[in-house]
Amino acid sequence: MFFISSFLHVSVHQVTVFKLLPLYFPSSFPISKIYFNLFFFFFSFSFFNFSKPLFSRLCLNRSMDFAKLKRMLYYWIHQIVNILLRLTWHLLHVTIHLFYFAINIANALESLLISKGLLRRYKSLHISKLQYLAIVIESEDCRTSNVIELLQWLADLGVKHVCLYDKEGILKKSKDFILEKFDGATLFQENDVLLDQPLMTLEFASFSDGKEAVAKAANVLFMKYLKSGSTSSYQGEQIFTESQMGEALKTVGGNGPEPDLLLVYGPARCHLGFPAWRIRYTEIQHMGPLKSMKYGSLIKAIYKFTMVQQNYGK
């Protein structure tokens, strides 16, 4: 009885460590999680062995009355259930990690087959359907060598207009470097019409081209509103239209064309703040981290996009 109770006492303190573990290893290989769990388990067990005298005083109190015993029992049952729940949760997430690991292996095999040209479905891509491609890259993952390789693949596939976005603006800062290294592209100009051009056009965007650009456009519209000297400020009237907003965004430099397809290279399927005004009907595909990018999965994503039919609300 004494053995079990003191063991549980230590496990309770260990539970907080269990809770903190996922925070430190968000996307690591699941085996390390299991090892760490086992490590802390044995550590606490050995710690308990050296601190037997401390716990003996807590538990061997002979004059405990019945109510106190009942309270202690409920407390320990509660703790046991808590520990079981946490263990189950961890086990569940480890299983999911293993599942995704297997899925990744399957995807890698498939993209290998696609890039070798063995799967007939992906042989001919209707690339003309893809007018404007946007790529969202996780800022911490942003290695220019990978970006240039990706641009090379896109140029080989025949994509003409690409927008590169990352939240922090790292790609914007290395704009000149990328354009120098990758000689198949020019910078996107604001009034470029999306015609067929010999070279690929590149646009660079960051978080400030999203919400802050809308704030600047709001100021532009406000100035116009003041200058027009309108005296009627009846609240219900529609003063601005969406096209006026689009024009204002263009003047502050935050409005390129709307992408047809958005590829997200990052740990999660999330557009990380890409300018909201432009992604109304954009297909969003998640490609995984940039360092494990594959040619085959790029082809698969573009193929999936060309198969989609949009109603636009109708």
Binding site: K19, P22, L23, P26, S27, L85, R86, T88, W89, L92, H93, I96, H97, K167, F207, G210, K211, E212, V214, A215, K216, A217, A218, N219, L221, F222, M223, Y225, L226, K227, S233, Q235, G236, Q238, I239, F240, T241, E242, M245, P267, A268, R269, C270, H271, L272, G273, A276, W277, I279, R280, Y281, T282, E283, I284, Q285, V308, Q310, Y312, G313, K314
Partner: protein
């Protein structure tokens, strides 16, 4: 014989809800999303697939919505948003639009009744969107529903009708412009304006920052709710279709391939598990911006 069958079904139902409660207990060890948004796509495809009458898919979709809301509120999700009707949907045939409006009217009346989900979980209902585009009876019913549930504070349900994200942004910009105009007029009339209206009193820099980002965000239709944690769009489509574009910067997009009337506990569970897997990363992104 009938009674035995009913009993068996009742026991089965109890077992299922007990199992669901156990699963929720286990899941609550990890992070619980604060705000989930649903794009209810695939009703018409379901009608075609199951060869039902027109409009039946939407009715079944409504009961799917009720069960999803039940799961959300029992799990502890405080804010739920649903995309009921887009401004683009007005382009559909007038009969279809009218039948959707009638369905909406009928369901609004239903949720205001005593035993409905709204009262059971203390849900405040908000209708987000350009309500002026709706017909009179629907708009009045919506306003009545908002008033009736205004006192509830345990959870919030935002129903987006006549809503598109671009319209929301534009409306917010317009409201902030009008607010700023009223402010300046007030200053001017009280003599403290220093001739602001004539634009002479401001530097170019200051003029660029008259309207700030916080002013615009204050006037969004969805200002009452925090940014969503998960957006679930059914029927396998991978786009946002002008829904919560502004608010979904750090939000996990879960895109199951089931149609909306077929969505169930399994998809909800999978969405929560995936969310818990990447919660740490998205939280970090949110804190950085």
């Amino acid at each position: 014989m009938e009674r035995i069958r009913e009993r068996v079904i009742q026991i089965y139902g109890n077992l299922v809800s007990l199992l669901q409660k156990c699963i929720f207990c286990i899941l609550s060890v990890g992070p619980i999303p604060n705000h989930i948004a649903f794009i209810m796509d695939g009703n018409r495809r379901f009608t075609k697939k199951c060869k039902l009458m027109e409009g039946a898919g939407h009715k079944i979709g409504f009961s799917a919505l009720m069960s999803m809301l039940k799961y959300c509120y029992e799990f502890g999700v405080r804010y739920v948003t649903v995309y009921a009707f887009s401004i683009e949907n007005f382009k559909r045939s007038p009969e279809e639009v009218q039948s959707l409006m009638d369905l909406m009217l009928e369901k609004i009346e239903e949720i205001l009744k005593e035993q409905s989900i709204v009262n059971r979980y203390g849900v405040r209902v908000i209708f987000s969107g350009n309500l002026k585009l709706l017909s009179e009876p629907v708009r009045l019913a919506a306003e009545r529903a908002m008033l009736a549930t205004a006192k509830n504070s345990k959870a919030v349900l935002s129903i987006c009708v006549a809503y598109t994200s671009t319209n929301e942004i534009m409306h917010a910009v317009q409201e902030s412009c009008e607010e700023k105009w009223d402010e300046i007029t007030l200053l001017n009339s009280s003599g403290a304006g220093y001739g602001l209206i004539s634009l002479g009193g401001y530097e170019q820099d200051e003029m660029d920052h008259l309207i700030k980002l916080t002013d615009i965000e204050k006037h969004m239709y969805m200002a009452a709710a925090p940014d969503p944690d998960i957006i679930i769009r059914t029927s396998g489509e991978t786009r946002l279709s002008n829904f919560l574009l502004w608010q979904s910067a750090n939000c996990y997009l879960y895109l199951p391939s089931v149609l909306w009337p077929e969505i169930g506990f399994r998809q909800f569970l999978w969405a929560i598990l995936n969310f818990q897997q990447i919660h740490f990363y998205l939280d970090k992104q949110r804190k950085q911006s």
